[in-house]
Symmetry: C6
Amino acid sequence: TILSLNQYNIVYNVLSFVIATMLAGFIGFLLIRSSLPAKHRNALTLGTLVMAIADYHYFRIFNSFTAAYHIVGGKYVPTGIPFNEAYRYVDWLLTVPLLLAELVTVLELTPKESKVLISKLVVASSLMIALGYPGQISPVHSTARTLWAAASSVFFVYILYVLFVEIQKSLDKQPEGVRPLMFTLRALLLLSWGFYPIAYILPSFVGGATGIVVSQVGYSIADVVAKPLFTYFVYKVSKLKAEVEEKEEA
Amino acid sequence: TILSLNQYNIVYNVLSFVIATMLAGFIGFLLIRSSLPAKHRNALTLGTLVMAIADYHYFRIFNSFTAAYHIVGGKYVPTGIPFNEAYRYVDWLLTVPLLLAELVTVLELTPKESKVLISKLVVASSLMIALGYPGQISPVHSTARTLWAAASSVFFVYILYVLFVEIQKSLDKQPEGVRPLMFTLRALLLLSWGFYPIAYILPSFVGGATGIVVSQVGYSIADVVAKPLFTYFVYKVSKLKAEVEEKEEA
Amino acid sequence: TILSLNQYNIVYNVLSFVIATMLAGFIGFLLIRSSLPAKHRNALTLGTLVMAIADYHYFRIFNSFTAAYHIVGGKYVPTGIPFNEAYRYVDWLLTVPLLLAELVTVLELTPKESKVLISKLVVASSLMIALGYPGQISPVHSTARTLWAAASSVFFVYILYVLFVEIQKSLDKQPEGVRPLMFTLRALLLLSWGFYPIAYILPSFVGGATGIVVSQVGYSIADVVAKPLFTYFVYKVSKLKAEVEEKEEA
Amino acid sequence: TILSLNQYNIVYNVLSFVIATMLAGFIGFLLIRSSLPAKHRNALTLGTLVMAIADYHYFRIFNSFTAAYHIVGGKYVPTGIPFNEAYRYVDWLLTVPLLLAELVTVLELTPKESKVLISKLVVASSLMIALGYPGQISPVHSTARTLWAAASSVFFVYILYVLFVEIQKSLDKQPEGVRPLMFTLRALLLLSWGFYPIAYILPSFVGGATGIVVSQVGYSIADVVAKPLFTYFVYKVSKLKAEVEEKEEA
Amino acid sequence: TILSLNQYNIVYNVLSFVIATMLAGFIGFLLIRSSLPAKHRNALTLGTLVMAIADYHYFRIFNSFTAAYHIVGGKYVPTGIPFNEAYRYVDWLLTVPLLLAELVTVLELTPKESKVLISKLVVASSLMIALGYPGQISPVHSTARTLWAAASSVFFVYILYVLFVEIQKSLDKQPEGVRPLMFTLRALLLLSWGFYPIAYILPSFVGGATGIVVSQVGYSIADVVAKPLFTYFVYKVSKLKAEVEEKEEA
Amino acid sequence: TILSLNQYNIVYNVLSFVIATMLAGFIGFLLIRSSLPAKHRNALTLGTLVMAIADYHYFRIFNSFTAAYHIVGGKYVPTGIPFNEAYRYVDWLLTVPLLLAELVTVLELTPKESKVLISKLVVASSLMIALGYPGQISPVHSTARTLWAAASSVFFVYILYVLFVEIQKSLDKQPEGVRPLMFTLRALLLLSWGFYPIAYILPSFVGGATGIVVSQVGYSIADVVAKPLFTYFVYKVSKLKAEVEEKEEA
Ligand SMILES: CC1=C(/C=C/C(C)=C/C=C/C(C)=C/C=O)C(C)(C)CCC1
Ligand SMILES: CC1=C(/C=C/C(C)=C/C=C/C(C)=C/C=O)C(C)(C)CCC1
Ligand SMILES: CC1=C(/C=C/C(C)=C/C=C/C(C)=C/C=O)C(C)(C)CCC1
Ligand SMILES: CC1=C(/C=C/C(C)=C/C=C/C(C)=C/C=O)C(C)(C)CCC1
Ligand SMILES: CC1=C(/C=C/C(C)=C/C=C/C(C)=C/C=O)C(C)(C)CCC1
Ligand SMILES: CC1=C(/C=C/C(C)=C/C=C/C(C)=C/C=O)C(C)(C)CCC1
């Protein structure tokens, strides 16, 4: 597919934007991590890891994209080296479990509850991603793409349901000041995770070059919300809990 | 557009100057960050992040520029690889919200006020930048360029108004010695932010190669004031507040 | 052997996934290492080393793979530079002894018992790996491949038996809360180590391009379980022991 | 202009010498910075920054020089890629204000006096540099070169006069042991700063290849004195002041 | 000499294995170095240095090897760039004296005895290495190779004799628990050092491509034992001594 | 000049050896620097800097050498890119003053004596190096080479005389245990510094390719003694003084 100057630049710019965002997230969370007491630091540690992983993966996505097109007569024409369009699934295989662990860490569950919940979520999310992969690499207008998405969505819905319920249950155990933040956390998660299947679907409707642009921009926006923004609010929750605990001990 | 030797060198030199400035800002703010107590460190942490992001982005702008021209017969002629002129918007999408957060952090607002203000400013600044982008990539003498700028300016004015009012309100709550610095901070912000639309507009009047030079120099000057110089004064404010607080506690 | 687009991408993606996983493991274990008291830190230090070694080796595997194939007419055709298929044995020669030392470190053995056990395991694992190497580089359907595997398996079984027995003996000496984790540790080890001979055997049945894919995916899955996941549980055990000890001292 | 083997090597060697000098300055000042109490560390922090900036800029100058000439028949002939001769002005735009701030920091002025003095000096030095730039890029035997130098020299003289007066005034407030060092500091400043206009002028008299050599060597010598040597004496002053203060408090 | 696929891969893999081993040694010893009190840290500091030096040198050996051969028709054929076969002597010139100092540091000698012993060993080892170098670069079947080896072996035997005696004498002064470790240390040294002349000699018997393989594998095995494994046991000795001393002081 | 395989390899290996030596010196002295109290750390800080500078310079020398020759028909033939033979003078211009400062720092002089001595030595050494440079780049059999060496030697002798006298005077003020080390320090200095003029002279007698080899090996040996070995003994002196002082205070 040939891309126009603007289409290429949008994807180029949005991928580079996410590289900078994840880099800033890694540096920033590393710097503020030590302002939390050790007991409340684990969630942010996980978030810091997610930033590093995502930055590595976005460099590879960015380089794959720039290797796939070159400019010929004012248009960006495929070089013959394919753009690795499913590479984001590689990222998700690592970052989604880590983000889920990040969330579970701030839910104030017992160790046993945490373990059971993490296990269920990691298995379900891995299946969700694995079942979406064959669809992602199928042609944009194929039934395979739809069927695989449906299979993936089963686990997507399951995860969201489990998280909704667990966050609801967790709210009763949280300090009062933390509840609004937990709402925000849940909203961010539902909002950002919902972006991914949308970005998956859109190319089937807009297709071609626009489909590539829309898909990359959509996934990138979702990643910025689901990773650094989500982790920032996890940090806020951790910080507030630490302050509440400090006051109680004083 | 063909650039003369001097025109190319001015852009080359000014972009490299900003690389060095942001690098120095990153190293410098990282070194002096620990001289502030933890409670007053957040704004400078945000500023340090802005330096890192801007340095990454300026390297990409610099490399895009040097890939776009090469010397032929004593003139710099386009290579055919386009100069990514809208890349700065990618930088602003990250750095402008961070700079706004940096400012709000020193305004002595309640957590709720901060949150509301940050949210409004982030949304407005994102819209300002997003609405300016299509104009930036439009031809220099098009009406589209003007119309998009007008749309962007609505949010630009809104942000400045909100900041003016909030900084004014904040002055009453500040220690006496901090007020002149807050004035400076506000002046720096209004001054530097005003540069950006000017740098946007000027190519429509001077056009061609001179337009490229004027645009790059203008944006670069604005970035040096809006980022490291602004952050330096944020550090001054934070330091003064910490000293005032220390005296009160003594 | 010619690879399809999908086959190449699966291997490319899975190798890159492991690069990111080991990188995350290195950063993560380095960050949480200091949350353990010095006395209980050794096992995690060994695990951190395994992450660094594995990441270095996976970069080389990844680069060897991408140098071995290039795209011609929509298929990935060999470049003539052979894919270094036995390179993983180089990794195992270092990481397997370190992982065994990691495990022995949490078994609460006397220094003498530790030394004897480590020595036996290191010799046996080195022989297991060395005896598997000639088979790995033999043709997929040769008897040599089978014979070498058989020789290697002798030591494989010996190691597993020794570990099973030692972990069983160790359970009596462990604090009560640690036992379930030790079970998990042992299960992870048996499960992940069992993957390796399976990944070795499978190409003999599926052969050709599919054999390459299956082998790389299989080994990669095994490495992710045997290295970072295993080390994570070693950290859990170390942390729990430190907490138990702290309570007893209080 | 064709350079002889020796002429090329002199410039090559002197530029590389300054790279090493600034690198050593950065490492050295970073290492000894913590031997000063926090209150007396600011000037050295500024000096450390100057080292980093200068090293970055000298790499670019060095690379520009080596790209501009290649050896043909035992002589160094221009490649066609111009040597960026005015790049040093980019460096000065950052380092001169920082060096002035470094000096003002050790002058024991009130915050208000410091601010006024810094402001005046920064504006004047920026004008001095900006007004010298057009002359630097003018032909060696043009009147433009002389006129711009004259304009620049106005601010040059103004700066030196202001510094002379301020350092004189400051001497009365300094501890006795510090005065000789302040004399040295002032002498270094006058001596090194005087080198720059000389290095600017000399090519007009010697011209051609020798002019290039003399200019680069002159500017490089001046930089070594004005940056690391000057900062070393600033460190000496800071250290002596800290010791005097420590004795008074004891 | 033409190498088969397997022969090339064995050397490639074994050199890369040592790169990873020395890297792991450097990281690992750096991490555990601080668990020893300052008084008992010197030997491990020396060992950490040996790791860094060896890793740098192995990269150069590895790159020299990969530059010396390329694949033509399924065989690795010389490129015309010679493999720098004597480069290991460069490594030994630094690492052997450091390893000897590492050993002497744990022998509990008086400062004077240490100095005399180190001096003798460094001179002897330098002569051993220097006298082996001309033989290494002589043809495999020359008398020069034998004669130089004989000369080198004089110093080799002298060193081993001195070390044997000194370690024997040292054993009486060591805490009881340290003696078995000192035996191990001595055994490791004798065992690993003996490998080097064997690796030197073997090509004279097997010659050609097999000689290259056998030589590189032999030297590499010896390096892994003589450097990281040896240093590990030096760490064990240092740690045990520190513990003994701590108990005595308690 | 054409170099044989062995001649090229000797220079290649000896330059790489010094890269490793300076790297090890930098890491090692950085690691042990903190074992000295702050008051006795300055000399080692200077030595650490010398290591960094020398490593940077040796990389450039090494790269210049490898760019100057390539293999043709089993011999190393000049590429046409000249070997920068006088580059070492660039290194000395920085490292010689730093080494002199390193030595003066341990001489227990008054601040005034130190300053006078350092000033004299820095001026004299700079002149010694500057006067040797034109000779170094003169043809090997020219009278210019001899005359410049004679001029340089005047300052060489002056420096050695001054150092001899100062070290002699200093010995009376040193703790008893330090005197033998100061003798060693002086011997090392005289020995190593004497190597440089020898390495300068030898090519005039052996000439051609052998002259290149002898010169590079000679200068390299001298650098290893004059820099890391010398600094190691400076560390020994500093450590002993710190211990003596600690006992006196106890
Ligand atoms: C439901 C669904 C999908 C969902 C993907 C999701 C929800 C991905 C989330 C990724 C995150 C959170 C990454 C951040 O780190 C797919 C696979 C696109 C396939 C189509 C159906
Ligand atoms: C009003 C207006 C604009 C304003 C841009 C601004 C105000 C950018 C500020 C950027 C900053 C502060 C970056 C620093 O970090 C545009 C987009 C040029 C488009 C034309 C109209
Ligand atoms: C039994 C057997 C094998 C076993 C390999 C194993 C068990 C490898 C384990 C590797 C680990 C644990 C690496 C992680 O770091 C081989 C060699 C494939 C050859 C066929 C027979
Ligand atoms: C008067 C004068 C000049 C002065 C330059 C100066 C004084 C530069 C100082 C630079 C420093 C101090 C850099 C170090 O960091 C120019 C511009 C050459 C132009 C000709 C007239
Ligand atoms: C006797 C002998 C030799 C001995 C070499 C030795 C003993 C090398 C030891 C190297 C070490 C210990 C390196 C580790 O860091 C040579 C030179 C091969 C030449 C032939 C005779
Ligand atoms: C007398 C003399 C010389 C002396 C050079 C010296 C003594 C150099 C010392 C360098 C050091 C110590 C570097 C280490 O860091 C030259 C210039 C070769 C020229 C010929 C005469």
